[in-house]
Amino acid sequence: MTVRVGIPKGLLFYEYESFWRVFFESLGVEVIFSPDTNKDIMKNGLKLCEEEACLPVKIFHGHVLELADKVDMLFIPRIRSLHYREYYCPMICGLPEMVKNSVSLLPSVIDDTIDYYKHRYYKGGVVRMGLKISSDQSKIKKAYCKACKGLQNKNDYQKIPTDKNEKSYTIAIIGHTYNLTDHYMNMNLIKKIKGEGFQVLTSCMVSCGKTQPYLSKVPKRIFWSCGREILGAGLYYMHQQNIDGIIYVSCFGCGVDSLIEPYLSQQLKKVRPIPYLVISLDEHTGEAGLNTRLEAFLDMIRWRRSCANHISSYGGNLYSC
């Protein structure tokens, strides 16, 4: 019987899904994902996890429970750092510890460390994980190379529409990848906005190279990878004339957002005051409340465009750079 490895659909899963799937499948194991987040998963997660923890981590616990009795091994890597001189947030670094102590009756857990900061390469950590499944080093290395290839294809960043279409509006949505892609958690936010006829760009669509010029002006180097991505995307979109508004999707209890968001909003006020909305997801947010806020926001954008045709009602032109 083939070994079944379970990968919970939460947190960094959304960014590196293809990599791990290819890697494990090449090693000849069956990969099982937990289902998309649903009510039960959320409920279980809230029950299992410390109360003060952030929402995505809580939901992650729910996914783990979902998989616990269906698989032979659980994959919860300890990802400390994936980029040069950057870390992930402490919760992600300590995720396996948290999960192992909060969820009882777990199967064995693949929880090796990937620490690019210290070792400057990923392969070591990945190979160590592979060794838990197969003892054949060369097979593991091959699987690693194959998985890496898959990763390169992923980086097809989307372009911002350059023609200023009178009829269409473009909104940038920024936030952690998992906040943007877990549609249960964010209550189908992106679909809703698209449904209103808006074009949507997200923070995952901006490449490092584009954000770098803006980030280099930030006095203190941002040492969280996720924070850097979000702030970079925010600053980048802020300087694009075709962006009509920015939505920051943050979540209950997030430590990174708590400092990045105020920084960005102050910067926005100073440089280019375009419509800006912060949506903080938590388990109690009702969908109705979200809809009202969203509609008001979208209306404001439409209204501004129609007025700005005559007189500049906002500082966009004056402050643009």
Binding site: C49, P90, M98, Y263
Partner: protein
């Protein structure tokens, strides 16, 4: 420069070094409810608690006329490194602009900034004088910590309640007023020791003693005004206390290059490895390391302090039940936020101490019975 600094433990060493270097020093008021309220009001909701108290402290310091704030930063996975960027902007919006000088640990890169800051701090004094002042304060920190350690033990057995706390105040005053050059240190140290000698104590038998270690995030462990004066409270209940964080340890670990001195912290980190493999930022790994260390040294219980919304301590909190079980040592956690008053928690603290006391008595009783 008119400088100020945040409180964390005794303010004397900070004050001394800036004074020695010829700056005007404003010692901000100790964190009070007002400080906390102001900080909370203007901070982002999910900023961690130390962020909020520090912001409040800065605001009070600025009210008193501070122009430059000197503090420490970090590059770790945790938020402390980004504190000042955001605080600076919040203060700007409130029209309370100040300049920040942030010292990041040179052990983790960033020598250039460190150097630059040192030069600013040095001001007009000569390098010789600068080194002499640093040396003075470095030794002072170590001496003060040792004295405080002695008091933390004595406090449990003092005859007149409050004597130790008063003595500690006096000692700090002496160091602040009478020490100007390294030569004075010895004399004042002896004077302080005499003061401590003079405290009347009634020490019970070894079996009756209770020792509790306080672990957790550095700010809430060290700053007694935000942690409900926990040490004094425990002392009043007849408990010997040791903190996991002392300024001297922090300085040794963060400011002294590893090739000069191996710090105490490194040994502690090693002990924590079994439970948290990697350093996840903040003091989570120290927290678990210290629990192991205290157990090895025969402590009877642990109090774990975590600031509200502190990410690393959340991780350690979730591991603590397992450690407590494996090592058979009682641990209690307190989450510290703006509403944490002693009144709400006193009963919990007392109950915890009772639990430990009973456990210990039972153990001794069982031993006696077995011995017969």
């Amino acid at each position: 420069m008119i400088v100020s600094f945040p409180h964390m433990g005794s303010p004397v060493p900070y004050k001394k070094i800036f004074e020695c270097l010829g700056h005007d020093v404003i010692v901000p008021p100790v964190p009070s409810q007002r400080t906390i309220d102001m900080g909370v009001k203007y901070s982002p909701e999910f900023a961690c608690f130390p962020f909020k108290v520090l912001l409040g402290t800065y605001m009070e310091a600025i009210e008193l006329g501070a122009k430059v704030i000197i503090s420490s930063g970090g590059h770790g996975p945790c938020r402390a490194g980004f504190y000042s960027e955001v605080q600076q902007r919040i203060l700007q919006q409130l029209n309370m602009s100040v300049e920040f000088i942030i010292f990041d640990s040179p052990n983790h890169g960033g020598y250039q900034d460190f150097w630059h800051n040192l030069i600013r701090l040095k001001g007009k004094s000569s390098w010789f004088h600068f080194m002499r002042s640093v040396n003075l304060v470095y030794h002072m920190i170590h001496i003060l910590d040792q004295l405080e350690r002695q008091l933390e033990i004595k406090r449990a057995y003092e005859v007149v309640p409050g004597t130790c706390s008063k003595t500690w105040e006096k000692i700090q005053e002496d160091f602040s007023n009478l020490v100007n050059v390294s030569k004075d240190l010895k004399a004042i140290e002896n004077l302080s020791k005499e003061r401590i000698e003079k405290i009347n104590v009634e020490v019970p038998g070894e079996d009756e003693k209770i020792r509790i270690g306080i672990v957790g995030e550095i700010y809430v462990v060290m700053e007694k005004n935000v942690n409900m004066k926990l040490e004094e409270k425990l002392g009043a209940l007849g408990v010997e206390v040791e903190r996991s964080q002392y300024l001297s340890h922090w300085v040794d670990y963060n400011m002294i290059p590893k090739w000069i001195k191996h710090s105490h912290e490194e040994a502690i980190l090693k002990k924590g490895e079994k439970y948290i493999e990697i350093n996840i930022g903040g003091h989570a790994k120290q927290t678990v390391g210290h629990i192991v260390d205290y157990k090895e040294r025969g402590f009877d219980g642990i109090i774990h302090l975590m600031p509200f919304a502190c990410l690393p301590e959340l991780v350690s909190q979730s591991i603590i039940p397992r450690i407590s079980q494996e090592l058979d040592i009682p641990v209690i956690s307190f989450s510290i936020d703006e509403q944490t008053g002693l009144a709400n928690n006193l009963t919990r603290i007392e109950a915890f101490v009772d639990l430990i006391r009973n456990k210990k008595r039972r153990l001794i009783y069982n031993k006696c019975v077995a011995g017969l």
